[in-house]
Amino acid sequence: MRKSFPGVLAVDDVDFEVRKGEIRGLLGENGAGKSTLMRLLYGLYRLDAGRIEVDGKEAHIGSSHDAIRLGIGMVHQEFMLVPNLSVKENIVLGFEPGSSGVFSPGESRQRVLDLSKSSGLPVDPDVVVERLPTGLKQRVEILKALYRGAKTLILDEPTAVLTPVEVVELFKSIRKMRDSGTTIIFITHKLQEIKEITDSITVMRRGHVVGSGPTKDISIGQLANMMVGREVIRSFSFNPYSPGEVLLEVKGLRVAGRRKAVAVDGVSFAVRKGEIVGLAGVDGNGQSELVESLIGFRKPLSGTISVKGVVTTSLDTSKILEKSVGHIPEDRLAQGLVMDFSISDNSVLGIVQKDEFSSRSGLIYVDKVRRFAENVVQAFGIVTNSVSMPAKNLSGGNQQKLIAGRELSRDPDLLIAAQPTRGLDISATEYIQSLLVKSRNSGKGILLVSADFDEVLNLSDRILIIFEGKIIGELSREQANVEALGRLLGGVSA
């Protein structure tokens, strides 16, 4: 099967086969292609080339309805439930039992109870969904798929939002389903889990299948290698590593999550002058929430954050940034730039009220702003005709350069860079990475949060690996190699 998106060959010549009644694990990091592969199976994307066969017959899957009809069901990471409706209503939505237009709650309830019993997934049909804990919400999603006749169930990173107890329950349910004949495809990046629950595993990397086989025949080390493994090319020159005073100190930080109750669960670390600390992890392990709490966008549940010795845990964002802290947000579109603003305007976002850019009374010195923007454009190689152009006209790479340039031009002592090269081509990526190294060499401290493991291995003086909200390991530059990183990323500490 093959599928491309503009500029990215997401799935390249992949042969993927699943036997009936088995639990097949699909392992890979961000961007490996596993989600895309499954979306192709579920009809959310369309194949560019190749074909799909279900039960030996060629199948054309043009929409999720087609997939459902073929008995393929999918439970996404983001639940598709209607919060104010009850469990039974959510499960039968669209395929309500009963003739004519009448909705019979009694019959629905019965159907749900029957299904619940036969699949071994107990639920209370009458509870309103928004009251349920995440684990049960997921169970409702699974039942939804089963109700629609799914014989093959695709679970996309199902444990990402569960507590350890809920994971145990989920695994029990998965085994029950397998025993009653359902085929399960289990997508994950967590090595321990995949070893525990699956019958066989396929590993993907950068759009290819790099290995597959029965679970009992592959070791964790091999999996780690396959998942992450590539040659590491160091192309940057680093000054000798001698970190200075502490710029950022985090102690026992706990932060609530967007989708989980607790996304950051007791994290402690420090960033010093003259070092790049890489925070490596697959998306969804708490990095986003951690960064948000560092800049004051999300208040933590407990723990402390200090910048240069001053506690900043409960301070407003503006006060934190004033301490010479820079931030490259992980989503340049939604969080980094105001797309309709000109490049000039974007370059002073958050700092326009400073004396150098505006008077006490609030009048903006347009010339000074423009000059600043032009400097940024020049110094950071941004391709544009004029700084009056709206930011949305820039290419992705140039937008990211603008964001990075804007931050670095202020020469912050501490820079928090979240996924700074996501979605960029090679040259833009290397350019931004060189900027980070330069900054580090001149004595600044950088927290590099990235799911790009090449980047992390290349740039970091120290690597911290975050997994399920905790830092489960630390690797120095010497210790950092592909296998060690892969194991930790997959959740296997020591």
Binding site: V352, G362, L363
Partner: protein
Amino acid sequence: MNAQAKGSTLSSYLETSFHNALPSLLCLLLGLVAGSILIIICGYNPVLVFGEMFSGAFGSVQGLSYTITYISPFILAALAFLIPGKAGIWNVGGQGQVYLGGITAALVALYIPMPPILWPIVALLAGAGAGALGAALPGILESYRNASAIVTTIMLNYVYAPIASFILFFVIAVTFPTTKVDSQTPKFSSAVRLPHIPGLSSSIMVFFTILIAIGVYYFLLRTTLGYKIRAVGLNPTAAEMKGIDWRKIKVVAMMIGGAVAGLAGASEVLGTYGNYVDQFAEGYFGGMGFAGIAVALVGASSPIGAIFSSVLFAVMVSGGPYIQALGIPRELVWSLQGIIIIFASMPYIYKVITKTDWSRAWRRTIVSPGKLEGQ
């Protein structure tokens, strides 16, 4: 480099403004076409109607006065809607805020005498302040209680207006008994009323209003507060991540909008009427506040655009009576406004028209209606 840069920025400015104005102009055109159809249905000649409107609005001293009189409140009401709009919050409460401003100015005019020049200025400022407070409430409710400003501002219109009437009939009327009978206060002292343009019966407020509109334009583009308002309106997340308190900014923007609406009410009371008349803000095309929304939309939600748009609407309103002389009812013009508002809500149509691949759409309808593509 500088002169050239200036020249190119002016022409590029005009170019971008024109580009931004295109959707609104298109909708205006569609609205006028639809309106013309309505006119024809009623049995009149659109060319005659529009022509008579224009000549009536500008052709005589009375007409010109009338036209100019309407420009000022329209501009202010439009600003009252579009300034909060830039921050991403809907102020549909202009109508009520106008009444708050008007009655406050009336109170100052009747009860707090001051030396001339100072008196009207204080009264106007008091009116603006009242409007600001009236708008602060829905602003706070939206920022901090997540209560949709659209609804709260509409509802408060029907709270503030009765409050104004109440004050008129049960507070002012106590000191000025004729108020109850006339439904209006006696004329204010000439020291507090706004002077008229020599030769016309419209007050000089219109000049200040145009200056205010231009000022708002520069305010939005050239001040830090204006910058923050625009940033919050366009991308509140990015703004917040950079330390901008979007909740506070939204409230401030609402208060500015309310102040302008209050100013509109106050200036009408002090300038156009010279006293406070109950329900004075009805008429003006369906209510001063709502007319302001239409003016703002047709003006592409820009302060400068609002100036031109308000002239257009002023012509429509003042030309109305002249059309009546032809036997055409004033409500026709009223309906035109409604049509224009509806069309003004459809800038997306512009996008649809220009970006649709028409040939593909045509092929799909005739070749395979309803069939999925790619099969």
